[in-house]
């Protein structure tokens, strides 16, 4: 909670600072404006909820929960359109736009074999396991990123900047697919899917980035930035796993207007 508040406080301070400086600029300087296309990817650190319907497979001398030896990953890629307006001193930029994000998470076995056991049904007489190789899940989100960029150095061919941003995203589509070890078990696809929850309908993330822009006069500006890190400030579940934070890369191309 403190971490989240700290992030929001820093974000607000940057905003107010940027707005303040923006307001103090002399009228004779002309503000730069850009419109651009962005694309990027992120790898998220995630953990597996303690599912009671997945059979544990931990080392005999190990410890922990039954899901410790499951492998999970959540990765995202996105494309978007953004506009940027800079302060007259050309040191701060405010960026916003629309972003389409595809999140792909999976759950599989991490050691010893290429499947895990999932409890399908259980009654007084019998227990039925299914062998699962992989559960793969996709979610599509539409989001609004809001970013503040600070360029401490004067314009040059390669210009360093730091950035803080937040993104508010809304789920528009999701799909889940189960890869069975025995293909004949496909008939249980829906039963397995129904054991998992739906992905989060909305989420909010904040991120910090460092980047370089390549400037040519009268030509598009190319920006390459490393997101280190991004963090979810709302609970975020892909439906399979819970994501915590991540790192990534983003490339965006801006045209002045």
């Amino acid at each position: 909670m403190f971490k989240t508040l700290k992030f929001i406080t820093i974000f607000l301070c940057f905003s107010l600072w940027g707005i303040g400086i923006y307001g103090q600029e002399k009228a004779e300087k002309k503000r730069k404006k850009f419109i651009g296309f962005e694309s990027g990817f992120e790898f998220m650190t995630s953990d597996v909820p303690d599912y009671t319907f997945i059979r544990g497979d931990i080392d005999y001398f190990g410890s922990g929960s039954a899901t410790d030896y499951l492998d999970c990953l959540n990765r995202e890629w996105y494309v978007g359109l953004k506009t940027e307006i800079r302060t007259k001193n050309d040191k701060f930029g405010l960026l916003t736009g629309f972003r389409y994000t595809r999140s792909n998470s999976y759950l599989s076995k991490s050691a010893d074999s290429d499947y895990f056991y999932l409890l399908n049904t259980q009654d007084a007489q019998a227990t039925e396991f299914l062998r699962i190789k992989l559960i793969d899940q996709y979610s599509d989100y539409i989001g609004i990123p809001v970013e503040i960029r600070y360029m401490p150095f004067r314009p040059r061919l390669f210009r360093l900047y730091v950035e803080i941003g937040a993104e508010f995203s809304y789920l528009i589509n999701s799909d889940i697919n189960v890869d069975f070890y025995n293909e004949a078990m496909e008939i249980y696809q829906d039963d397995v899917i129904n054991k998992f929850t739906e992905p989060s309908t909305t989420y909010t993330s904040v991120y910090f980035a460092i980047g370089w822009n390549l400037n040519w006069k009268y030509k598009p500006v190319i920006n390459l930035e490393a997101i280190i890190p991004s963090a979810f400030i709302s609970d975020y579940s892909t439906g399979l796993i819970n994501s915590i934070d991540g790192i990534g890369l983003q490339l965006n191309v801006q045209i002045p207007f």
């Binding site: 990953l73 074999s113 227990t127 070890y181 991540g246």
Partner: protein, 205 residues
């Protein structure tokens, strides 16, 4: 920096794939949150058992078959095999661990196949019954016991199927008893087991 390291580990794991076979005979030890020297009670066929033997811990290990069920003549015998160790020295590789087995025999009861074990579902055996006997073996020393009191409860005995194919019988339950060993009373308490029985650990002759 820790977060970056975290992500790099995940990416590394992602790039690896394992193709080794895995089967349900493996033991999976998940410790009990309250009695943290013992395996947690489960009904998954984790092939573990454990109990306090006075203050020591009698527990399955990863080397011995945890339970053999033997149907012989007109009796049925359950042999739990593992090791006994001191909770203060909880290193399982310690040289102070000793091999231990507990042999529970029930006279006048015979099984034809391991599927007959389903008869034990939701059944409690009174160990003070004259048909029951327990023999303890610690490091090749065999001790006949005189049971004072106790119960062996099969909470759940169930068929396990994997991908719609029958695989084994899972026996899960609890046990507690007291007995005399060389005229000294001993308690076995908080015992629990969760073991799969199939062709590899059921014997009839």
């Amino acid at each position: 920096m820790k977060k970056i390291f975290h992500v790099l580990i995940i990416i590394t794991i992602f790039s690896l794939s394992c193709e080794e076979e895995y089967d349900l005979e493996k033991s999976v030890l998940i410790y009990d949150k309250d009695y943290n020297d013992l395996p947690a009670y489960s009904e998954w066929g984790y092939n573990t058992f454990g109990a306090y033997y006075d203050r020591k811990v009698f527990i399955s290990n990863n080397y011995e078959i945890p339970l053999k069920v033997i149907s012989y003549d007109n009796s049925t015998t359950f042999i739990f095999k593992g090791e006994i160790n001191n909770p203060a020295d909880n290193s399982y590789n310690s040289y102070y661990n000793e091999e231990m087995s507990m042999k529970l025999s029930i006279e006048n009861f015979k099984l034809e196949t391991y599927n007959d074990l389903l008869l034990f579902n939701d059944t409690t055996i009174d160990l003070s019954h004259p048909d029951c006997s327990i023999v303890i073996t610690i490091d090749n020393d065999i001790f006949e016991t005189v049971i004072i009191s106790g119960e062996f409860e099969f909470k759940k005995v169930q068929n396990l199927t994997v991908d719609n194919e029958p695989v084994e019988i899972i026996m899960s339950g609890l046990f507690d008893y007291q007995f005399l060993l060389n005229e000294e009373p001993i308690s076995v308490s908080n015992g629990r087991f969760d073991i799969g029985i199939g062709d590899e650990n059921f014997y009839k002759y």
